[in-house]
Subunit: 371 residues, 2 copies
């Protein structure tokens, strides 16, 4: 996965700098997948000791650089002669948080090492900005590992589309509904709660027309008590057939008063069968992170188009033996053509138990780690 | 799960005896499923301290009682005033190992507590045998927990049939073969090796006629290098159609010399579609533990007849989307009818990773813990 060029770059850095970058990569993996890449940062003192590590926890939260500087500030750590070691080039723009380059200058950091350039329009140039202001800036340390950590996020950026998470909740034998259509609930409360946590951090939830008709879901993000969470994603239905006037997905979290139908205006009907077009529409509506929640036809369409960047598979120890398979045809003919997935180290082990259920956290098996 | 009668019994035992029985139950769970029940034993001294614990590791190995006595002997532990606390009544017959009652008397143990009576023909009467020889024998401590640990083993005994393990290796979406029939290999080497370890401890492996024809398996137990292990189970094919003369399953592990076909005589064709009849035939042939290895029709038939006592589900992070589902119809109509399974604490956590694959170890969700 590491190219010769990257090997050449790596040897220019000290063992302590390697150790700090490894710590930054591990910190990055504590983040969450979504609109932003996962990023980690470490502060290294002149004796090669790691002072603090920090990471980015998703859109709207501190960047890794400001997170690690916050820790240093709160503990009164002396940052004279400290080096900041970051998995990605510090941003140079004012997004939901201020630019990291400014925070680095304000903290008096004189040396910065980052693994990868951030090529996105809004963020690029952070390294140059710091260098122009007298900071020693080096990059390229463990770039292959840093690229691998966010490979599918870079893919989504390059394709100018939202980052896509697919969530499937199925039985042990891979079914999402019994023959009579019943599917509530295959998984137990802890797995369903984990699903709502994902809903609460995406910009849009997308389901197919079949799911909208059969399950009539609200697609709202709720807590364990069923109360709506503060952030509610856009609710999107992708279908050539219009969504029923009284479908719950239209109404959102606003209770209808005295018989009159109300809506929170956070619903959209996408009159298409093309995942690329649907993502384009959702991006235009401001969605940087889309959660696909099925059904089998929609999930299969996104998988077949290689448009799934992150996969959550919730599985219950339940055997149906009949009913709807979790995925419609991928037109696979032979085993060698099957799509292979690999574990995603971001925020946890590849599989974990949630009550009696199991959650898999996967990402596409990349052919190459370079972007 | 605990009946009022059992609660009444439990309070007759001291806190130290409870602690020792819990240790015995935990030790029992280190065993393996199969021809014998899992059993644990602890030695408790007069001060309420646990001296040693032991467990049974499957047919042909030491019983829990002799295992814990071996540890005491090897470490020169003084057993004067020791109490042996066992999850099951000590056996009174000479099987592959000598009777445990004799070992207990020989060790000079004066007090024995066991959770459950062993009602099997060959073993029963161990408690009475010891009491008749001056040992203080009490029973009924944590009997519900001890019964739960072996509930399906007792079921198999009561039905006078072998203990049945079902093994399935499938993709993430529940498929065991691609449309063109390819299935080698869905899971990786560590999962396949684990499968061979199960083969090596069963008395018979059973597959359906379709699997015998399509995969032409040898059904031998082999090590990671592909060499046959010392114990080879009986190889059984259940089918209304005769098994092809040149099928590999007929030949076993003996290499055929100079073109002549040879066999190790460990093959049987069961001309039936009835799982009960197949198990009866295998029991008559000496099998106390049968491993069902599919295909989907055979697996479904055993599941539908509630004849699966232990389930191993190996799953690879691979998406097929097409091909053969791991299980044929169970005639399930609605979600409430789905068979629920629960984790089996015996020898490990409910799920564990094996390379990039996941292994589930499950047992049927019992309605009642009493036998």
């Amino acid at each position: 996965m590491t190219s010769p060029a990257q090997h050449r770059t790596d040897h220019l850095f000290s063992p302590a700098e390697h150790t700090a970058m490894r710590a930054s990569l591990e910190a990055a993996a504590l983040g969450v997948r979504g609109a932003n890449p996962v990023v980690g940062a470490a502060l290294l003192d002149a004796n090669g000791r790691i002072l603090h590590t920090g990471h980015h926890s998703g859109a709207g939260t501190l960047h890794a650089e400001t997170d690690v500087l916050r820790k240093a500030r709160e503990t009164g750590t002396d940052l004279t002669d400290a080096t900041m070691v970051i998995t990605l080039e510090p941003c140079n723009h004012t997004g939901r948080t201020g630019p990291c380059t400014r925070a680095i200058l304000d903290a008096g950091i004189k040396r910065v090492i980052f693994a990868l350039h951030d090529g996105t329009e809004a963020a690029r140039g952070g390294g140059q900005f710091l260098a122009d202001r007298g900071v020693s800036v080096r990059h390229g340390l463990m770039a292959a590992q840093a690229a691998d950590l966010n490979d599918r996020w870079f893919t989504a950026q390059a394709q100018n589309r939202p980052f896509v998470t697919l969530k499937i909740a199925q039985s042990l034998d891979g079914r999402v509904a019994a023959p009579d259509g019943t599917s509530q609930w295959i998984t137990g409360p802890p797995a369903r709660e984990a699903g709502h946590e994902i809903r609460a951090r995406v910009d849009a939830i997308l389901v197919g027309g079949g799911t909208a008709r059969t399950d009539d879901p609200t697609l709202t993000a709720r807590d364990a008590q069923g109360n709506p969470l503060s952030h509610q994603p856009l609710r999107a239905v992708m279908s050539r057939t219009p969504v029923a006037h009284d479908a719950r997905v239209r109404r959102g979290v606003i209770a209808s008063g005295d018989g009159a139908e109300t809506t929170d205006g956070r619903f959209v009907w996408l009159n298409t069968h093309d995942p690329v077009e649907a993502l384009s529409r959702l991006r235009a509506l401001g969605a940087a992170h889309v959660l696909v929640e099925g059904g089998p036809t929609l999930s299969a369409a996104f998988l077949a188009a290689d448009l799934v960047d992150e996969l959550w598979f919730y599985q219950a120890p339940l055997i149906l033996g009949d009913g709807k398979p979790s995925l419609a045809s991928q037109h696979t003919q032979t085993l060698a053509d099957a799509a292979r997935w690999r574990s995603d180290p971001v925020a946890g082990p590849p599989v974990r138990t949630l009550g009696s259920d199991v959650a898999w956290h996967l990402r596409p098996a990349a052919v190459s780690a370079s972007k």
